[in-house]
Symmetry: C2
Subunit: 110 residues, 2 copies
DNA sequence: GAATTGTATCGCAATATTACGATGATTGAT
DNA sequence: ATCAATCATCGTAATATTGCGATACAATTC
């Protein structure tokens, strides 16, 4: 049905899955990298840098904004989209903690 | 159209997005954590530990196997699913490198 | 105020994902 | 050989995602 029973999973699992979902598209990775590598964070520039229509890019920006990785401030006639370093670091930590959970491989069968 | 133009993105972006997609569901996170915390890696146990039908769990296992995070070896009448530590560490590194790209926030507007 | 520019939203179509029950296939036990 | 147990796959339905053009909205400019 496409619906995940969110009530059966832990908050940690839901949070990690949500952040992973936000990163689960190359265009969104590209957007984040573009914002990192340039300090010009205006939407128009992003559209020019991606092989996607303006409306599609706007949707991806919206999803990144939804999870907090981006914050957009209105700057006159355009919008300044920037990475939120706080959320970025927090996300980094969430992934880091998750990956650190594996000490070593399964040792009783493989 | 639901189709991403993969040819327009870098291999790094595609790889990261693919791994993120594999982690973009709480059930798959739960599966991985379950495999970490117990060393009993038989599919049946996983099904019992999740609020999902056996066929659904099998699909999630298949996706984790597709990206290499899991390897499944037939063990008599059941299947031993284990985390592949090599792929795990590699994925961890991919995310780590990605997150490390942000030195500090955008400094010219926010 | 009208035109321009930049971005968001709407509506639609195509595809992907998630989930389940039913069915297969394979192995071990009777 | 039959049966039970275990996991994979198929078929199907519901929902989500992706993408684009068209349009709406907001602010600046003329």
């Amino acid at each position: 049905m496409g619906l995940s029973k969110t009530e059966h999973f832990t908050g940690e699992q839901l949070e990690l899955a949500e952040m992973a979902k936000a990163l689960a598209h190359p265009a969104r990775i590209a957007i984040l990298q573009y914002l990192i590598w340039t300090n010009a964070c205006v939407c128009g520039d992003i559209v020019d840098a991606l092989p996607l229509a303006q409306s599609t890019v706007s949707q991806h920006l919206k999803e990144l904004k939804k999870v907090g990785l981006l914050k957009g401030e209105i700057d006159g006639t355009s919008v300044c989209y920037c990475i939120d370093p706080i959320v970025w670091k927090k996300t980094e930590a969430v992934f880091s903690v998750f990956f650190a959970q594996l000490k070593n491989g399964c040792d009783d069968c493989c």
